[in-house]
């Protein structure tokens, strides 16, 4: 099949055909070299290793090499301005691979020709499709009279960036409203809300990192250590001292800030790379301490049974305590029915 795929692109190029094919061949060789050992041979473990220590998948290594060669050929042809064969070949490959993957995922011939797992096949189809699109774009628009490919790319990226920023102004508030409304939507089940909360957590992490890296220009690779400190500060204070969430909130912040102070003073003298490695080391240190200080942090098991936050004595639980209210019953919010009555947010 690889040969057939190549055939559709074998149109004679005006010049440098040899160079194009050499480039493609080298890419294929390189990828075969990369894949031969690690993809082609798998070291078996567990029960399988008793039967045979190694499993062979050289067909996948060949597939990888062929895909790389074809892809490189496509890119090289595109660069040389031969968009038509790339359009044809890319479309053909994309459809062939996608159809084969959908309709005959287990056909032995396809298993031999394509990757054994679906994901890389989809990647191949995707890339071929992308190449075809790029070729189509190139056919419709004459190459821009811009100095170099890099300059053209940078100009395009600048345009896209400006566009995104323009839209962000309107999209931002909209997304904020959507986020507020999300838990009340009928389709919002627990998993979705969990993921959404994770997203918000990452956004906060990103803000913090932006202060350190973006505004102060310090590459802090141990930044997540403060995330851990904040989490453990709350967990431990709430569990052992019995402080409420609202009291712990500033406390956790203060403790993380104090850790930042401890790290920051000595480290601020350092320049770029050194700063990065020290903060990376600091992050590792915090991780190791938290993992190993078993009596205090619970080690790898973590802290369990952390009290949940409450709002002026109203717990954020699904079922209100005996004879009282929980937050949502008090303010009159009702969870959608899709959540099972026993589910609790973690």
């Amino acid at each position: 099949m690889a040969g057939a795929r190549g055939g559709s692109r074998n149109d004679p190029a005006p010049d440098g055909t040899g160079a194009l094919f050499r480039e493609a061949g080298l890419a294929g060789l390189l990828v075969f070299g990369l894949a031969a050992a690690l993809v082609g041979v798998r070291v078996q473990d567990g029960a399988a290793s008793a039967i045979a220590p190694l499993a062979f998948r050289f067909d996948d290594a060949f597939t990888a090499a062929a895909a790389a060669a074809l892809g490189r050929l496509g890119v090289a042809l595109l660069r040389a301005g031969l968009a038509a064969p790339v359009l044809a070949g890319g479309t053909a490959v994309a459809f062939a691979v996608a159809l084969a993957q959908v309709f005959f995922p287990a056909h032995p011939l396809l298993l031999a020709l394509l990757f054994d797992t679906a994901m890389p096949n989809w990647l191949v189809a995707l890339f071929a499709g992308f190449l075809a699109l790029a070729a189509g774009w190139r056919l419709r628009h004459a190459p821009l009279a811009i100095v170099s490919e890099t300059a053209a790319r940078e100009a395009a990226m600048d345009r896209i960036g400006a566009e995104v920023q323009r839209w962000a102004r309107y999209a931002g508030p909209l997304i904020f409203l959507l986020a507020l409304a999300l838990p009340l939507m009928p389709f919002a089940d627990r998993r979705l809300v969990d993921v959404a909360i994770l997203v918000v957590t990452y956004i906060m992490l990103g803000w913090g990192l932006n202060v350190v890296v973006g505004l102060a220009g310090l590459l802090d690779l141990g930044y997540v250590a403060f995330y851990a400190i904040g989490a453990y500060a709350y967990a431990l204070l709430a569990k052992y001292v019995g402080l409420s969430f609202w009291l712990c909130l500033p406390f956790a912040g203060i403790m993380a800030a104090f850790a930042g102070l401890l790290l920051g003073f000595p480290v601020l003298r350092l320049r770029g790379d050194y700063l990065a490695i020290v903060t990376l080391g600091f992050g590792e240190m915090i991780r190791i301490i938290l993992l190993n200080w078993y009596q205090f942090t619970g080690g790898p098991n973590g802290v369990s049974g952390v009290p949940r936050p409450s709002f002026f004595g109203l717990p954020f639980t699904e079922s209100p305590p005996e004879g009282g209210h929980s937050f949502h019953t008090f303010v009159g919010l009702f969870w959608p029915l899709s959540i099972s009555p026993t589910a609790k947010f973690s």
Binding site: G33, V41, R269, D273, A276, I277, G281, E284, M285
Partner: protein, 261 residues
Amino acid sequence: MIGAFISIITFLLLGLFGITWAPFAILVALLATMALTPLYGWALERLAYRPLRHSPRLAALITAIGMSIFLQNYVQLVQGARIKPLQSLVTGGIEIMQRGDFVVTLGYMQILIVVLTVVLMAAFTLLIQRTALGRAQRACEQDLKMAALVGVDVDRTIAATFVMGAALASVAGLIFLLYYGVVDFFIGFNAGIKAFTAAVLGGIGSLPGAMLGGLLIGLIEAFWSAYFSVEYKDVAAFTVLVMVLIFRPTGLLGKPDIEKV
């Protein structure tokens, strides 16, 4: 990690053919891993570093971390996440001294590792100090633009540097495999941090410094593990690193930067 995996694959392949004679197997594994691992170094340079050549240095650093995560996941995907054991090839050793029940032996494996390290170290020092390629590499490190102006093919020199680095790392992976008898996809991470720590401790850009740094990190960890606690040995190593950087940011043997006039 990749070097170690290619080594274990070579050993197991040789085992399928019934070749288990240790010196030959190790030689073949050494050649195989030093031939195949550098391909990864080269590809990485070409795909991830060359486009960032003129970006700020931090971009390259972040890319490095990203690529290491990528490679870990790649190996985990194609080889599985579980630990791969290899039965030890070199056993036995020389008994040096004995007092009562306490015997000090020097394993053949340990001797092999030291010899291999010294030989490679000498070879690479010679390469960097005496050959045209080594000079070109140092020139690129000191002034990339000027190196191009005297006719050094900067791209090729940097690619060659990545290839050399990957070859050395692959030998380290082979040694790790031989000595500990196991590999998994995660062995590189700690080693990478420790290597960087050792290099910074000794002074970046100084070969003897890197050796001294490695020695110190190793000793600190060993003594800390012996007298205090094993769990916190990494903490000790990093604390020392932080101390060194605060009081002597250029490392122990590093020279202060000579600014261009």
